[in-house]
């Protein structure tokens, strides 16, 4: 238990008695093994100190101690909710570095898989966020839809969570007519479901009261902390790697980058819901214009990484995922640095949470969409 109340004497003001509380590492609203040491004054949060590292699995060290091919499964285990962008990023980096050309059909399949994964991730977030706000039921509706995505991805990739689907120079399997029809069916279903979510959540007065003007991230603050993804776009900055530096096949598709206006939890919610619709648009276009051809480029059996450095960024479900490679001419990276978006987004909570009500702090934490194993790596 330890000391519940500790006093801190400030220079001029009165003595503030803080009630210290541990949120996590085992706690219903930290979604993993995040620990927050919170100093409370009544219901008000005076200070937040995140403690991370409980899920550290030495992914970066593993990358520099084995041939680069053997690291592929690790990329599927960085972010349990949305792993394909990580894999996409890692492989694109290697392919760019070694000069392997990926067939256009493979890029299209990659885009479809990644966007499906993004929808699954946002659905998971939506349910978990509402659970943080105390609504029990929506998570089951979200999981119901997510289940459909996972079924499709399972059919396609062979796994439900840790999809190791992409291969050097292409993908593991083709999207045949059966899979395409299933995806189309899912799109029809999902488009109808948004009205359910809007009725259940968006127009709910308690939900609006709990999220409107709560946890406002100003554009300046978002820039200072290096926030990316829906957190940044919720603050009104239309930065999306898929638009700013189009990679893979994203140049071929037209889609919007939704942004918020106030930067509060409600805006971040709206941005994510709109992003799901945009992902459906991208999938639809990709299915329509899918080029014929190979799904995997012929690749030599052993590939050494030429000496040099290179970085590659993709838009993950939570923000910009960057892999930075330093190679020394062997088949093992000298160093592989992973930039996880959640790490930057988590740091916002320290400044953002000060002076908030405890419940608002939990809501704000939920709206950042943190996946802790991705931070810990």
């Amino acid at each position: 238990m330890g000391v519940a109340v500790r006093s801190t004497k400030t220079e001029s003001g009165p003595i503030h008695y803080r009630y210290f509380m541990n949120v996590g590492p085992q706690h219903p609203s930290t979604h993993g093994v995040l620990r927050l040491i919170i100093g409370l004054y009544g219901e008000y949060v005076l200070s937040i100190e995140p403690v991370i590292g409980y899920g550290h699995r030495m992914h970066e060290k593993m990358a520099q101690s084995r041939p680069w091919q053997a690291f592929l499964p690790n990329t599927a285990r960085m972010d349990y909710a949305c792993c394909l962008p990580h894999q996409h990023c890692y492989l694109s980096l290697i392919e760019q570095h070694t000069g392997i050309k990926v067939p256009p059909r493979a890029e299209y399949i990659r885009v479809i898989a990644v966007e499906l994964n993004r929808i699954a991730s946002h659905l998971l977030w939506l349910g978990a966020f509402l659970l943080d706000l105390g609504a029990f039921t929506p998570i089951l509706y979200c999981f119901d839809d997510r289940e459909e995505v996972l079924d499709i991805l399972e059919n396609l990739t062979g796994a439900r969570i840790t999809h190791c689907f992409f291969r050097i120079g292409g993908v593991l399997a083709d999207i045949d007519d059966h899979s395409a029809n299933r995806i189309r069916e899912f799109m029809r279903r999902m488009r109808g479901r948004f009205s359910v979510y809007h009725k259940l959540v968006t127009e709910n007065i308690i939900f609006i009261k709990r999220t409107r003007d709560i946890g406002i991230i100003t554009p300046d603050m978002a820039r200072r902390y290096g926030a990316t993804g829906p957190v940044l776009r919720g603050s009104g900055i239309a930065y999306d790697v898929r638009k700013q530096q189009p990679y893979s096949a994203y140049r071929d598709f037209s889609f919007d980058v939704p942004t918020g206006s106030r930067g509060d939890c409600y805006d971040r919610y709206l941005v994510r819901v709109e992003e799901m619709q945009q992902s459906l648009c991208i999938i639809e276009q990709a299915l329509e214009r899918m080029p014929a051809g190979e799904i995997r480029a012929p690749v030599p059996r052993t590939i050494r990484l030429p000496a040099g450095q290179r970085s590659f960024s993709v838009e993950g479900a939570r923000g910009e995922v960057t892999y930075y490679l330093v190679a020394d001419g062997t088949d093992t990276p000298y160093r592989l640095k992973v930039r996880s978006p959640c790490y930057a987004n988590l740091n916002l909570i320290q400044e953002l949470g000060q002076g908030m009500l405890f419940a608002d702090m939990i809501a704000t934490l939920g709206s950042l969409d943190l996946v802790i194993p991705e931070i810990d790596r």
Binding site: A4, M21, H27, L133, A135, L357, G366
Partner: protein
Amino acid sequence: MDTIISITSAFTSVALAAAVIVGFVFVNATALGYIERKLCGRFQRRIGPMEVGWHGILQMPVDGIKLIAKQLIVPSHVAGPLFYVAPVLAFAPAALPFLVMPFAPRIQVLAMEAGLVFVLAVISFNTFAVFLAGWSSNNNYSMIGALRAVAQNISYEIPILLSLLTVVFLTGSFNLSRIVQVQESLWFVLRHPGAILAFLVFFIAAIAETNRAPFDLPEAESELTAGFHTEYSGIAFGMFMIAEYTYLFVNCCLATAVFFGGWWGPTLPFGQYSSCIWFFIKAYTLVFIVIWCRWTFPRVRFDQLMNLSWKYLIPIALGNLLLTALCTKL
């Protein structure tokens, strides 16, 4: 000899009443637990418990046996006797309101003149138990949950009292069976606009008073893990749950008796006894609405909860009370 017989018979009737009421509390909590789990399943596109018994109907008794059989884990840092007293204190008074509840003309243990006051007094006792539980647990989550519970219950007792007083003004009696009898021709909620408003205030306040979602802040699991009963396990936790369900049902019974005409309904055979069916149908309908709210809405924030009571419900209830009083005088 006559005295002995009368004492014995009085004792027997008291013991019988106590046994029936305690039995009813357990059966009712079990039934409500089952109904809630089934309904929650339906709201969430699931089917709920199905394994134990026909459509899982034995799930709750089995869970109850599990809770009783479970080891009571008592953390070393809790404050001794108070920790053990709290669940008993939560559970024991929960049965008392049924003593004066008029289920049917002949099914009422005690036609107390101040029945309504008695029920409200007993319901307030729950706050005491919850605070004791949170305080003696010596746990930060529990403490905050307990503080929230006290602030919440005190705030919401006022609108409950004010809204019930509206009906007391209309009938001129605190006696629950008389309040029901007056409604023979028409329920209060249909008869008087003041009573409709009073019912709405009462219903919202009653949900908050019983710590049910969307006002379940003392046990808000996304913030306080399990709130005031974080440190309780086994049947100690079970007693808090039984108390919660019982208080929920008491509030619905109160609303039925005061606003919805209690046992009145189309005549049934053995009217003196079987009309309690109407009472239960009405009460369980209200319970259904409470459960529906719970599984639909997100939780409100603490200051919003306080504002709702002090800025809206209390002024509305007070204004309504004054207007009703004025109307009855005219």
